[in-house]
Structure formats: C-alpha cells, structure tokens
Symmetry: C2
C-alpha cells in the first residue's frame, strides 16, 4: 500500500498548505484520541497555530465557536466506523473546515465523511512506517514542513523511515522487563500510569485501553505535574505506578514524580525514553518520536500481563458485543 | 472585602479589554486547574478566542509557541504560594503576556508575580459571591462582556449575585442524598467519577482532591464521551460510579454513560444538574453556572464520607508535611 499511502498523504498535505489553517482540532475517541496528544503537542511547541484535542462526542455537542472555514479538523478511527467520530467529521465538513481522517478501512463511513483520507496498514506483517504511528508522524511533519519549512521537519521525515526497526529493537531491549512486570503485577487490582507532555497520551492510552478495557484492571493516568496536587496522597507502599518518562521538555516533571513515588511505594516501574535504543535518531527529535516508541514498547508490557493472567487482550465483555 | 474585590476586578477587566487577547492560557494545578475547565469552556463556546488549560509545570516546560505579548494568562493558587504557578505566571509576564491571578492571599508570591490580581474570600462565614467560585464567574463574564458585549453576559453577572443562596439551597436539597452516599460508599476501595463539558473539571476535582487527596480512596475521572472507548470494560456489578450530569450541551454524553453503567453496575450515583434548585436563574445560563453548584454540592458528599469513615478531609500524609 505504500505508494497509495504516499499519494493520499501528499494530497492531504497540499490541501493543508493551501488552507493555511487558523486553528486545528484533533478529534477522535479513546486510543485514537490518545495518539493525538503527540500531534497536538508538536503543533503547540513548533507553531503558534492553536491546536486542540477533543473527544468526538464532546466536539459535536460543545460546538466550539472557533470551528469554521479556516479550521483544519483531523480525525481518526481505526475501523472508520466509530459513530461519534464519523459524525464529528461531518459536522466539521458542514462548517467548511478542511477534514483529514486517518483510518485502517478504505470506503468506511469515516472515509466517506472526510474530504481527505490517510489510510494506514495494520497487523504484524506490515511496516510501522505504514501504520498509524508512521502515518501520523508523516502527516504532522509533512504538514509542518509545508506550512513552515524547516530542516528539522525534513530530518524527522527521514528518521521515521526507520520506525519499524526502532520499534523492533526497543521491543527486544525491553522484553525481559516487560515479562517481569507482567508477572509481578498480574494480581494487582489497580495500577496507576503517569506521564507528561506528549507522552501523557500514552499514559492515558495504557490506562484506558490496555488496563481498563483489555485487562479489566482499575486504572487512572496521572499527569506528573498534577501528581503533587492531589493524587500523590494515595501513594502507599503497595500502590503500583507505571511511569512513562519522557526524553523531552517536560522530563523534570517526571523526575520529580518518580523521586517522590519511589520513596513511598515499593511498586514503581519506570519506562525511560532515555533508555530507548535511539540509534540513527538526532537528539532534538527524541521528544516527538518517543511517543510511538512508548506505544510499541508498552504494548509488550500489556501482552505479557495478558499471558500471565490468562486473559487475552482480545477479550471483551461489552465492546462490539451489544448496542451502547 | 467586597468593594476591594470589585475594584480589583474592574482593573483586570479593563486591562483584558485593552489587550484584546489573541489567545488565553488558563494555568494552575490540581483543584485550582480543575476549576478552570468551566472558564475555558465558556470562552470556547462563546468566542473564537483560542483558550487552553495547562497544568502550571507543563506550561513552564512545554513553553507554547503561541504565548506572547498578545496573550492573556489567567493563573490561580489558593495560597498564592504554589511554586509552579508562581513560576508560570513569571514566565508568562516575561514574555509580555497580560497576567491575571486569583488567590486568597494578598501579597503572596503569586500576587507579586502577576500584573493584575483578583483576591477572593474563604471560609464558611463569607459569601460565595466573594469566593473563588463567584470571583471566577465575575471575571469571566465581565471580561466577555467587555470584549464582546452581550445581554446574556450582563444577565449572568446579575444572576451570580445570588450564588450564596443558590449554594445553600442546593446543599440543603441534597443533604440526605449526600449522607446516604457517604455511608454506603465508605468502604469502597475505588470510586470512579464521570462528567463532560465544563463539568468534567468537577469530576476531575472530586477524583483528585476529595477522593485521592483527602479520603485516600482510589479514583479516576472518566469523560462520559470516552467511557465507551475503553473505560466501560471495567464496569461490573460492584464498581461504583459518581456521575455529575450536566444540564448543558453535552448532556447526551452523560445520559448515554448513565444508561449503560446502570445496566451493569449496582452502584451508580447520579448528581443531576436538572435536579438543582434553579430558582431565579435563566435556562440559558444553566450550563455555565452548574459547575460551581456541582462544586458546592459534591463537597458535602465528601464531607459525609469523611464523617462516616472517621477520616477528616483535613488529614494529609505528605501534602504540606515535607518537601516534594
């Protein structure tokens, strides 16, 4: 699919360049929304274009007044079938916004709803460069480079060509740790996740998708900057935390939370982006590229817990099984 | 303090009018940040001025590129002493932004850091109109009315004069329910809160301030639009939820989450803004005014639980007791 992907991408990026958006709304639900934290963060730090993240149904009903013909609305649904995200895309398009949608399914309702579409591959045999992780980075840095040309964005686009190798190397590097975590935490009734900056999205995704949805373990993602303003009072010797420590700008927040949590809990696990195998990647890109690596590596933690619990990640009791 | 409050307010609002900000950052930590969801929401729905919420330390380290001389930065710290919020305010001011800070303490570090200050009263003997709840609404609707004059904002400013009575009537109305909830939930190890729109901030505050911080009960706030995209899989007959159901635009999200949760959990408690005593308030203001009412009423739920658990809301193990 790679040539089609590149063709879709270049059309969407050309449209973004032409629109020169006044503001950007990233709109999706659950794991798809979580992945947009990185995209919103990159725009926030690199440009003065206001960028927002909203869960699809909130976007529909809140109806932000800034949404209009000068807006770019980026939506995502893996199946292309999430009703709220399809509807949100229709709402955005009806207001004249430029709509760009990511999904795995061509000709899905989301595909029909959006003006521009970005298809991505899925499954173990395909390359991460053609997955959601790769396509999102290619779109974001492509759009940035079109709107505000910069050698850094061009370098980022080159670096992510190696994304599949980066993922594989890091999954291997953390395989033993992942298994140890899965085994030692399999009977925990609640596990908190923590993160900041763009990585907060991965902490959120791990809490709601892997722990709550797939493993039926109670969880909450705690922003490491917020930890000291309430949540830290539940820290105790037996309360588990899984911290995704960024290599980016907000690392001091993560370090502070780590130092405190380790004093009072015996169950603090830290996945540190500085420990990732970064071969071939420039340091000034660590912050933005760490999010998908956290995604790939943390999935193996969930997989090992699933194995040790005998509760496959595919098991659901409600999702896709009934109307809701 | 009421005449001084009005004087501070009118100076800050005049400065906002003169600045005519290109964007607005609401910056604080924990409960002070949670309260800004309502303020951000009002700007999002009523104007096309981009408005953001960031936890203070994230704001400092992320350093959004949109922050500059055309920005308004609104910060808040009850004590005026929260180091991250003081620093964030200094950063904003150093970049030329107009800085307005709410706090209870005059001449605190935050008071020194901000160009304009809004003092608020505290304690049971003072009037809610002069509290943070009242001052925030007076500032937001005052600023809106200065930037985009509208009879609705003028009516809002009139209505909130009665805030103290509204709070008292509603605390009384829900007193029996609050006690019932506190007694029946006192042994729960985890309680989820839910909300959407501006009320999501109150669900967040209840989770992190009342449950985690003050009562040492595990918790997580779930956005009702996100519930179906992961979190709902942890719903079970014995999992408690406390839903803050808005009377505003996003009510359909709350209704959907309520209907589902009630099918599979026997412990769903709903605090519905439509059941509030709204005497004297126009319907088109319910959405914006419900957030502080949720704040006042939900506090009584926490107070009753504290009583039944024998664990006063003032107890802390870490906060203010050590360096962190």
């Amino acid at each position: 699919m790679s040539s089609i992907h590149a063709e879709y991408l270049s059309k969407a990026i050309a449209a973004v360049k032409q629109k020169n958006p006044k503001n950007i709304y990233f709109v999706a639900c659950g794991g798809s929304m979580a992945y947009m934290y990185n995209q919103q963060y990159i725009f926030d730090v690199e440009t003065d274009i206001p960028a927002f993240i909203l869960s699809s149904n909130e976007f529909i009903h809140r109806s932000p007044k800034g949404l209009g013909p000068d807006s770019l609305v980026v939506s995502c649904s893996h199946s292309g079938n999430t009703p709220e995200t399809v509807e949100a895309t229709k709402v955005a398009r009806s207001k004249g916004a430029l709509t760009v949608a990511y999904s795995h399914e061509e000709n899905s309702p989301l595909w029909q709803a959006a003006e521009y579409n970005l298809h991505y591959d899925w499954g173990p045999e395909s390359d991460a460069y053609e997955h959601k992780a790769g396509m999102a980075l290619r779109f974001i840095f492509g759009a940035l480079n079109a709107l505000r040309p910069n050698e850094k964005y061009a370098r980022a686009l080159e670096s992510i060509k190696d994304l599949n190798n980066i993922f594989e190397r890091n999954k291997k590097k953390f395989a033993a740790e992942a298994d140890k975590w899965g085994a030692s935490h399999k009977r925990e009734p609640i596990i908190y996740t923590m993160g900041s900056g763009p990585v907060y999205g991965e902490a959120y995704a791990f809490a709601i998708c892997f722990l709550q949805e797939m493993l039926w373990v109670h969880s909450s993602s705690i922003h490491t900057g917020e930890y000291f303003h309430g949540p830290f009072e539940i820290t105790d010797y037996d309360v588990p935390f899984l911290l995704f420590k960024t290599a980016g700008e907000t690392r001091p927040l993560d370090e502070r939370a780590e130092n405190f949590a380790k004093k009072f809990s015996q169950k603090v696990t830290v996945l540190d982006a500085k420990d990732f195998d970064w071969t071939g990647i420039d340091k000034d890109l660590y912050s933005y590229l760490s999010t998908p690596i956290f995604g790939a590596v943390s999935r193996t933690y969930a997989e090992r817990m699933a194995e040790h619990r005998g509760h496959p990640l595919t098991v659901r009791r409600y999702m896709w099984k009934m109307d809701y």
